[in-house]
Amino acid sequence: MPSLKDIKRRIGTVENTQQITSAMRMVSAAKLRRAQNAILAARPYAQKMYATLGEIGRRQTDAEHPLLQAHESQTVLEVVVVSSDRGLCGAFNANAMKMAERVIAERGPAFDKIVISTVGRKSAEYFRKRREVVRSWTGLANIGFADAVEIATHLSDRYQAGEIDHAVIIYNEFVSAMTQRSSFDQLLPLSAEDQIAEAGEATAMPFEIEPDATALLNVLVPQALEFSIYRALLENQAGEHAARMTAMESATRNTEDLIKSLTLKYNRARQAAITKELVEIVSGAEAL
């Protein structure tokens, strides 16, 4: 039976933990709001970009760009695994790793070699000892478009140099504050059909294109790649904060329960001590 003092100290500790978890929950909620705004801010750009791509694709069905072309030999697969830098966000990162392993198991056998690049510390730690990691990015707090450009450049350089033949990205998609879905997108070769399908029915634009469609594609195709990565990073960022918020909310609830049961225990122990003292006094008085 723990002493009264011990129980009191435990209650104090749990209360401290509760302060931390509830503060983290609030911080995550604020960050989640910001991350969601970033996703919304990217929409007009996405619409414009896909509409333009769609328009060009319709005009020039034989559109050619090195990033659109599949390589003849399928030798090296690069998997970009996006995770968070920090933990305490439930199964968020574990789900991404599970997804990564699944994609590797499904697509991997077609290739001679599989290499990994990681975004965020958690996936770097996971893959460091398991597979060949070619590049890691960490410390990307507050994702900016420049971060996506860096990753896109890394991939497209390698793809055009023939070092890799296929690239996919794995990340957590933000569905709602309660749900994040781990998912994957094919990055390279970029599929022109997919991009055009994203555009949907665009209005026909009677444009004069200067100098020609190829020059536009040279800008648009890398931009589409950059944007796919940017979107994945943003989704993952929002997902991370949402997951942490949920995790911290349930942690805070747990501390409440714990404090309740400890307080009950404390009161019982106090009662018992009082009763014991009374019994001692009474029996002492009787003995006189």
Binding site: A38, A41, A42, P44, Y45, A46, K48, M49, T52, G144, F145, A146, A148, V149, T153, S156, D157, Q160, A161, M205, P206, F207, E208, I209, E210, P211, A215, L216, N218, V219, L220, Q223, E226, F227, Y230
Partner: protein, 138 residues
């Protein structure tokens, strides 16, 4: 009649409003758009954008992208658009110097059209940034 100019970047809408004219860094040279411009679409190289709005002249550094002119609506789609007041001149100069060095080193040692282009783009963007913030000072 003013032109309706919209600048979109992945990080959000950078500009939206009625302007008298806009000068953009087209891939084949700078071009100005006034009201009644022909309908066309072109790609942009990293460079400077000049916007005349009322009595104001706004300067911005753009990265590469696409511009579309359509019945007095100009839509510019770029990776980044930084207006002069958003640019930290010292940082821009440091970045330009670094980009210049990288480009020189690359030219001396390595080969590869793609990587070279990427570096060159980076350099042009850095220069545009410096130039925009310098002009602002005057």
């Amino acid at each position: 009649m003013p032109i309706d100019l919209t600048v979109v970047t992945p990080e959000g809408q950078a500009f939206q409003g009625d302007v008298e004219s806009v000068v953009l860094p087209g891939i084949e040279g700078d071009f100005g758009v006034l009201t009644g411009h022909e309908v066309f679409m072109t790609s942009l190289r990293p460079g400077e954008m000049t916007v005349e709005q009322g009595s104001d002249r706004l300067l911005a550094a753009l990265s590469k992208g696409i511009a579309e002119v359509h019945e007095d609506h100009v839509t510019v789609m770029v990776g980044s658009c930084e207006f002069a007041h958003e640019i930290d001149m010292e940082r821009a100069q440091v970045a330009a110097e670094r980009a210049r060095k990288q480009l020189a080193d690359f030219r001396a040692t390595e080969e590869g059209e793609e990587a070279y282009q990427a570096l060159q783009e980076k350099y042009s963007r850095a220069i545009a940034r410096v130039s925009v913030s310098e002009k602002k000072k005057q």
